[in-house]
């Protein structure tokens, strides 16, 4: 899974400059006018609602075993069929989504906040920057899953382990993006102009730099979200994620792979839900970037 590559690669093409160019309509109006953005937002709202409302839509304990109902194909009774232990897959997918989205949300919030604070410091103080960037290099080059695996082994698989290790791993690419943006913005003439006016440093950051880097941060956040969801699923899949007592899409697939010949549906539905979530987040990130960064958008 991509934990080290949350920075969508289009950025490498030089999309870091001029991303603060404003256009005439407010962002939300352009979002509404963009069919891709609207599709992804609607998809995300549906997914989020189904996760939040899971206890209402699919009441009962999703982990309840019912050996008599094993391997029932999808139908009116069980929309997504049942698995090897007779658990209702629809139930499991809805409840699994709660875990996935929750982990994604928390990891995004933690890693983006840390990245903004450290990125700001890094963009302003050379020595700190040297050290931080070397650490980021180390974290970025190394497969996050291996670190997370080691962490899970030592601290024991649990929700907080997953959140901690994913946050550490995903801080690196976010920090690099934020820091890169701060460095670009810092060199803008408007910053020199503000300094020549006599604007103090703190105000310079809050009124000039932060607004200018907010768009790329927003774009990055959606990619980080998708990487976190994917990361959690991958870790849970190989058994070093949230642990067997909790339910997630990755967990659901762990056992399922042994029954793929008999009951392909138990592989299909959790994976599909996972993919739709990631797709929606990636599409949102793409369209946000198109909207907020006209320089890149003209290519599409």
């Amino acid at each position: 899974m991509s934990m080290t590559q949350a920075t969508s690669p289009d950025r490498l093409a030089g999309g870091d400059e001029e991303s603060f160019v404003t256009t005439n309509k407010p962002v939300w109006q352009r979002l509404v006018a963009n069919p891709t953005a609207m599709t992804s937002i609607i998809l995300l709202v549906v997914l989020a609602l189904s996760a939040v409302l899971a206890p209402l839509l699919a009441p009962g304990n999703p982990l309840k075993v019912s050996p008599a109902d094993r391997f029932i194909p999808p139908g009116a009774e069980h929309y997504f069929g049942t698995d090897n232990l007779g658990r209702d897959m629809f139930n499991m997918v809805l409840h699994g989504g709660r875990t996935s989205l929750f982990v994604g949300l928390v990891v995004t919030a933690i890693s983006m906040s840390v990245a903004v604070v450290l990125g700001a410091i890094s963009g302003f103080y050379r020595q700190v920057d040297m050290v931080l960037m070397r650490i980021v290099d180390g974290l970025m080059a190394f497969p996050g899953i291996v670190l997370a695996t080691a962490a899970a082994a030592i601290m024991g698989p649990s929700m907080s382990t997953v959140i901690t290790s994913l946050s550490i791993v995903l801080v690196a690419p976010s920090l690099r993006v934020v820091r890169g943006q701060v460095l670009v913005v810092r060199e803008l003439q408007m910053i020199e102009a503000a300094r020549s006016v006599g604007v103090p440093t703190l105000r310079l950051f809050t009124r000039y730099i932060l607004p200018a880097v907010s768009s790329p941060i927003l774009v990055q956040a959606s990619f980080i979200f998708s990487a976190a969801v994917l990361g959690e699923a991958g870790l849970s899949f190989i058994g070093v994620g949230i642990g067997p007592k909790e339910l997630s899409w990755g967990n659901a697939l762990t056992e399922a792979r042994n029954y793929i010949a008999q009951a392909p549906w138990i592989v299909l539905f959790p994976g599909l839900a996972l993919m739709l979530t990631i797709l929606a987040l990636n599409l949102l990130g793409d369209s946000l970037r198109d909207i907020l960064d006209p320089r890149l958008a003209r290519r599409r």
Partner: protein, 314 residues
């Protein structure tokens, strides 16, 4: 330095690692006058502008402004002093914060320096807008809604917001089309007449400098090679570089053009002796070994060239 000099720069130098961007620059500007710095790329004129405002820290030298040495001021005192010195930048698209409305842009300098009450500040913003001939409706608009010339007017209004005594203008019209350029130049002269502001005006365009400035310094490779009153510089240039610069300018007819050989040397490797000797048509052995000193040649004109010694001796 005259009695009423508001800004007096002495021995100003700046090195970026091995690159000596500005070397031993000295000049002073009488109150209410405009001093022009003209030169080609790499001449250090823009760095000099930033050194004067201490946007770039000088390596050595003093900047005497309103009786104090800016180079010695502590950060807090320097920031307070910025109220009296403002800058206009080259790029009208880059120097304004795209997220701030014109109102916020014009209020910002007053807010930062704690000038007046909120309603005073707003009144000042309105007055400034009128001064640069923009409609009042512009207040609530954002930079991207204006053309390049209009943005440069907004930048000028911002520079005037704290009623500064010195304005440093770095290539303020070179990003503009000629017809718009004329509007902005006229505006700058009008405002200067009205407010009595002193101005340091940086440009590569000899025509613009001639139009705007009372006194001119010609820069080459980080040094002022000649300076003096406008009419002396344009009428009787003493330094071979000034002569060549004026002769190279278009609009003189192709027959008249005198040509400099070669390219501007890199600031990494400034030639020994006189920095201009590698391109000078009159260079002789002394120019290699000895750096010419700035000499007074009368009428307020000064130039740094060994030829002037020769002429005197002859």
């Amino acid at each position: 330095m005259t009695e009423q000099s508001i800004l007096s720069v002495t021995g100003l130098s700046k090195s970026f690692r091995a690159v000596k961007a500005v070397r031993d620059v000295s000049f002073s500007i009488p109150r209410g006058k405009t001093f022009g710095l003209v030169g080609e790329s790499g001449s250090g004129k823009s760095t000099t502008a930033r050194l004067v405002l201490r946007l770039v820290e000088p390596t050595t030298g003093s900047i005497s402004f309103r009786g104090r040495d800016l180079a010695e001021l502590a950060p807090r005192a320097l920031r307070a002093e910025r109220r009296h010195m403002q800058m206009i930048f080259q790029d009208p698209f880059g120097s304004l914060n795209p997220r701030m409305s014109v109102r916020e842009t014009l209020v910002e300098p007053q807010l930062v320096h704690d000038i007046g009450t909120p309603s005073d500040r707003l009144r000042t913003a309105e007055r400034l807008l009128a001064e640069v001939s923009l409609p009042r409706a512009a207040l609530d608009r954002f930079p991207h809604e204006f053309s390049g010339g209009q943005r440069q007017r907004i930048a000028i209004a911002r520079a005037l917001a704290t009623n500064p005594e010195l304005i440093v203008a770095d290539e303020p019209v070179s990003a503009l089309d000629v017809s718009v350029q004329a509007q902005v130049l006229n505006l700058m002269r009008d405002l200067q007449d009205r407010h009595g502001t002193t101005m340091l005006f940086i440009s590569h365009d000899l025509r613009v400098v001639q139009f705007m400035c009372d006194e001119i310094g010609v820069m080459y490779l980080g040094e002022i090679v000649e300076q003096g009153p406008r009419d002396r510089i344009y009428g009787a240039p003493a330094h071979p570089y000034t002569q060549a610069l004026l002769a190279s300018a278009p609009g003189k007819g192709s027959g008249q053009r005198a040509r400099l050989k070669g390219e501007i040397p890199s600031a990494h490797a400034v030639p020994s002796g006189c920095a201009f000797r590698t391109r000078c048509p009159h260079a002789f052995d002394r120019c290699v070994n000895e750096k010419p000193a700035m000499r007074d040649i009368g009428g307020g004109q000064k130039a740094a060239c060994h030829l002037l010694d020769k002429a005197e001796a002859a």
